[in-house]
Symmetry: C2
């Protein structure tokens, strides 16, 4: 058997030396005719084998009666016959030594469980024979570098192709065609347009790896509705990062309604959207909201370097556009920074008196009387430290304006500045003039600033160095031994753990938990309180009581024996009423701190364990102020995520509060992540809430925790 | 003197019987030539008077040497001469009985204080003579209904005009031209395109009132950078609402960076952006982010009724677009509701087996084999209760698709459904086919859903009935008499009030404040505690101590005499250290409650008093979870605002909490608003934090308050 992404097989998919079309048609508007039409028209230089027992020739090419009649097995076969005939054709391909088949035929998994069984069996037979399958229900693959256009999309008729540095790979045929069309509309050349359909074998990620071996590919754009496995795309992302190729992806079905629609479209398994975000960030894959945004990002990435900072300089011939651009910049997270004195002095010499020499630079309608003004102004700003990127905004141009000169000046400037330049122009002739010179153009300030901000995000994601966690990391953490267990509860190996067992498990993996003792009765509780020596909390503890505070089974601030015994008696009554007979009591020190945070783990079916960190307390779900991280990550990654939350402002210190010990909280998150990763899928979930965070230097301590184990306990524990 | 928006004068601006052009040019590309060119080309039927002492004729029209030489005073004069000559020309117009002048000349307020003085003096002289001025620094006014195109914008050359039901009025000439261009690009006819420039006299709001008298105007679009006074636009909004005309506005300078840019563009006074939102909402003015969004909203408003609910039905020939549309809908606040059984049964009869009959409706590529499918499917869904609006998404069409038929079917459907329909299509021929049939078309799902959600918001704003507050309303509230004052502090009439005076003032206007006593010494405090009979808070009270908790001058939960006396002694020491010698003490009942909220008043320089309501507590600024309301408003308005805040989820009741007494909090907000409104500008600010809100039926009580008075105390107090 072949290895999954064997170079040769994927090369044969994208650049086959010979292609058979099973179900070849003389009519270029039929599914079996269009690929032949395309390949003849776009100069496919390999061997074409139309197969149709009814015809001697097809669109001027010799036609063959069957696969068996061919002089040699083709590297690639396009299966364009429907139903059972299609399945038979795939089997014949596998038997004849065809390297890969594109199954255009529909009627498989997308129609329900019978179709899925048919598809699975067909794919299994192909796999056994060593043949790769694209599809079924695929629109096909198109390579405009070689003319191997094994696709029946009509879009290549509507919008003429031109080879270029972009690859588009999509689970949906419609979206592959649409992204191609949007790119071509912007004058961008596209080499690869691939649609994987039902993905019985070859996935979007597999093809991403394949196109990344093409050194002329500089941007890879993906459209995904579901991610079923995380490894291959991570591999593609690593290749892209190593090559400096921008990998940008739409993952739709972000919302509940969208996920429902995706399930009914392709039976797609819904991904937890925040986990998708964390996964993309982790692998420096830039996420776009929709195909239009994908293409906007691609245009800017193609036309220049990524922004290396958030500071934007705006130049416009309209004061109103300066205002709109400033609003859009700030709302996108970019900064309109002041220009330095030398830049301003230079601008003052060059601009008329009523123009502004501050950022944004309003060169006013003076552009009308001096069409060279653009070329004079731009170099003055090029090296200003306020400029990580440029937005040139031309809301009005026409008679009297030498737009071609503006475009030429801008292109010269962009080439020399070594910083990204985005133009905003809605008038078609203005946009066309700039695009002709290779400058990225947007319809409005929001779109331009959105693209600049996104590519700055990509720059930061690429620059991030993830820590290397060894697989036995969790085992190296010494048990903390903070808890003391006087109860008879044994540590279970599956299911929901009691608070005591949860805290003990977390402490053994290096997390700081509240000083506490597990007590079987009132005497033990009193003894524990005396040992702790300060006010304590008393909590009933049983794996059957995950929501103890809602039952009134938590008493706080107890500091005398009577109060403690009374509280315990009251809780015992409640437990009896609830029918819980296996409870012990936790007597825990009342720790001091500034803010209630929360930490958690979820075991994502696709991405594995992810760590949650954010605001805690009673209203943790309703407040929904939580970030998700994919291991491995460092404390600085956690701190950066916390800064992006609403609680970030509070943790930084406001209203006379000192800054909180974010470092300690981040370190707890890292330890939790190391444990969860080492444990693999055996940790189903962890909820630590609250984690009480003190002032800087005073630590963060888990006051309550709930661990759910999925299977056998982790080997490292 | 004329009344401000005298019908006749504004009529003469928009539809003048005669127009003089001072500084007329034979060259249609000169500022003094272009209006003449436009008016001749677009059939202006009134009398044109080109004025230029150097020429006998201009562009084929007889030219006059001076204003004085004209046979009659023109109704409108366009002043297209620069500098001092321009000022002289304006003065001559005023002296000659010209009704209104459009001052195109620049070099006034936009250049600095000297220019501003020049402008103010010129405007004052015109006002004294009874002449209205548009500008200076105006691009002019254009009326394509009459051909009175007193504008030098080049845009009417670039994009050919067509009369229609839309009016565009802008402070910026560039933006008026751009909005016009964007509308025309979408095939929308435009009647009015007006730019007010420096607004020495006539404002955008004045012209909005004027165009609203034109019964054929159905949409009024505004571009504003600053609002200097609230009355005229409110008048325009009332007219628009009465006529069912959509009034949609961009107010730029939303962000700090944007406001800075606006200040340097036009010296615009920055408006508090949340107050702008509150003002627009109050007057049912729909706010758009930028000119592009403005035009997207306008297209949908023009093509059909407003959505009367949030439920959207999506129909597409692409499953992927169904997913993208569902994401966009949910993110815009729309709902993808299930279709009812009858609709689904109808769809099942009409669609092929593999299509989905749920919402979104994926009619699949079956559209290729049956171009009538659209026409069959749409009527089936028209009356489904899940449909308040429709999104028809066609990401791929071309060879094999009868797009003209789809467009005709959609237009028929839209006409019959009585519900809004938006199409998503990025291919130019597809978009054009639908636009030709009068259907609104968008480039992506975000834009379409954004427009549908915005117009649903406008529908709700229009439906809102603001309560009628009589001006003496505040006086009718009986003093509550909850506070008891044993101190010697006298109620001041200006400046910052002490907590005691603030609470007393608010209580006298009907707000519920904590039960408390103001005490001069420890004995009085102890007596007050005994009277209250439960644990109390002790707070030092002085107008010089607005941030008492930060100085440790608040002690909570005191319930015995020793503790009370000790706390008071400690606070007395702190006060001595701070040099505060006028303090009294507040002894206040410790009220029980569920949530800490906050109420406030700010006196906006343009909009007057606005009321703030939201999350309270120590971190009120950092959490920034506050809504702004413009009086008059009702308790239901407040409750709706609260539901939109993050604290809204908590107030509704989560994690075992009962629902909070939102009604009581809302009633407090209404009383505060009535008081602030009756007091006019005399209340500079109010901060009530926290307002402790109990469970439903248990009320909301102000625990702390700080009132700042600006001048004389309100007459009603």
């Amino acid at each position: 058997m072949l290895t999954r992404n064997d170079d040769a097989t994927l090369r044969q998919l994208l650049d086959p030396a010979s292609i058979a079309i099973i179900g070849a048609s003389d009519n270029p508007d039929k599914i079996g005719g269009r690929p032949i039409h395309y390949m003849r028209r776009h100069g496919y230089a390999g061997q074409l084998y139309p197969i149709n027992p009814q015809r001697a020739d097809v669109q001027g090419e010799r036609c063959w009666p069957s696969l068996a009649s061919l002089p040699a097995a083709p590297e690639l076969a396009i299966v364009a016959v429907a139903g059972e005939q299609g399945v038979r054709a795939v089997d014949e391909c596998a038997a004849s030594g065809v390297a890969a088949a594109i199954v255009i035929s529909a009627g498989f998994a997308e129609t329900g469980s019978t179709g899925r069984a048919l598809q699975d069996a067909m794919a299994a037979r192909a796999r056994a024979a060593g043949m790769r399958i694209v599809g079924p229900n695929s629109q096909g693959l198109a390579n405009f570098g070689t003319g191997a256009i094994a696709s029946f999309s009509t879009m290549f008729l509507e919008v003429p192709p031109a080879d270029g540095p972009v690859a588009v790979i999509s689970q949906s045929g419609g979206m592959s065609a649409m992204v191609y069309g949007l790119l071509r509309q912007r004058g961008i050349g596209v080499r690869h347009v691939h649609a994987t359909g039902n993905e019985a074998d070859v996935t979007v990620a597999d093809l991403a790896c394949a196109v990344l071996r093409d050194p002329e590919v500089r941007i890879v754009l993906l459209y995904l509705e579901s991610l079923r496995e995380a490894g291959a795309l991570a591999e593609a992302a690593a290749m892209a990062r190593a090559r400096g190729v921008a990998l940008i992806a739409v993952k739709s079905g972000r919302s509940e309604a969208g996920a429902r629609a995706a399930a009914s479209h392709t039976g797609a398994l819904a991904n937890e959207d925040r986990a998708v975000d964390a996964y993309f960030e982790h692998h420096a894959i830039l996420r776009a909201r929709d195909p239009q945004e994908l293409v906007r990002y691609a245009e800017l990435a193609l036309r220049g370097p990524l922004p290396r900072g958030p500071r934007l300089v705006v130049v416009s011939n309209s004061g109103a556009s300066c205002v709109l651009a400033s609003d859009a910049a700030q709302e996108s997270g970019l900064e309109i920074a002041p220009l330095d004195a030398a830049t301003q002095a230079g601008l003052a010499r060059c601009l008329p008196g009523f123009a502004t020499t501050t950022n944004p630079v309003d060169i006013t309608a003076a552009l009308l009387s001096n069409n060279g003004l653009f070329g004079e102004v731009l170099p003055l700003i090029a090296s200003d430290p306020a400029a990580d990127g440029f937005l040139i905004d031309i809301p009005v141009a026409g008679r009297g304006y030498d737009v071609a000169a503006f475009a030429a000046d801008t292109a010269d400037f962009a080439a020399r500045a070594g910083k990204p330049v985005a133009v905003v122009a809605w008038q078609a002739p203005v946009a066309a003039a700039f695009r002709e010179r290779g400058v990225a153009v947007y319809a409005d300030e929001q779109q331009a600033c959105g693209a600049l901000a996104a590519l700055y995000r990509l720059h930061r994601l690429r620059g991030r160095v993830a820590p290397a966690w060894t697989s036995d990391a969790a085992a190296t953490v010494p048990p903390a031994g903070l808890g003391e267990d006087s109860s008879a509860q044994a540590q279970p190996s599956t299911g929901t753990l009691s608070e005591a067992h949860s805290l003990a498990l977390l402490a053994s993996h290096g997390l700081t938990v509240a000083e506490h003792a597990v007590c079987a009765d009132a005497d033990a509780a009193v003894a524990a309180w005396r040992r702790i020596g300060v006010p304590v909390a008393l909590k009933a503890c049983s794996a059957r009581l995950p929501h103890k505070s809602e039952h009134g089974l938590v008493a706080l601030g107890l500091n005398d024996e009577t109060a403690l015994r009374e509280a315990l008696a009251r809780q015992a009554q409640t437990l009896a009423r609830l029918g819980v007979d296996d409870a012990a009591w936790i007597v825990a020190r009342m720790h001091a701190g500034l803010h209630e945070c929360a930490l958690g783990v979820r075991n994502d079916p696709v991405f594995g364990p992810v760590v949650l960190v954010g605001a805690g307390g009673k209203y943790v779900e309703a407040l929904d102020d939580v970030a998700v991280l994919l291991p491995p990550f460092g404390a600085e990654d956690v701190a950066a995520k916390l800064r992006g939350l609403r609680i970030g402002a509070l943790l930084a210190g406001v209203r006379g509060d000192p800054p909180a010990d974010v470092e300690a909280l981040a370190e707890q998150a890292v330890r939790l992540g190391r444990y969860a990763r080492a444990a693999g899928g055996r940790v189903a979930s962890v909820d630590i809430n609250p984690v009480l965070v003190g002032a800087r230097g005073q630590g963060a301590v888990a006051l309550d925790a709930l661990v759910e184990l999925a299977g056998a306990p982790p080997s490292s524990a």
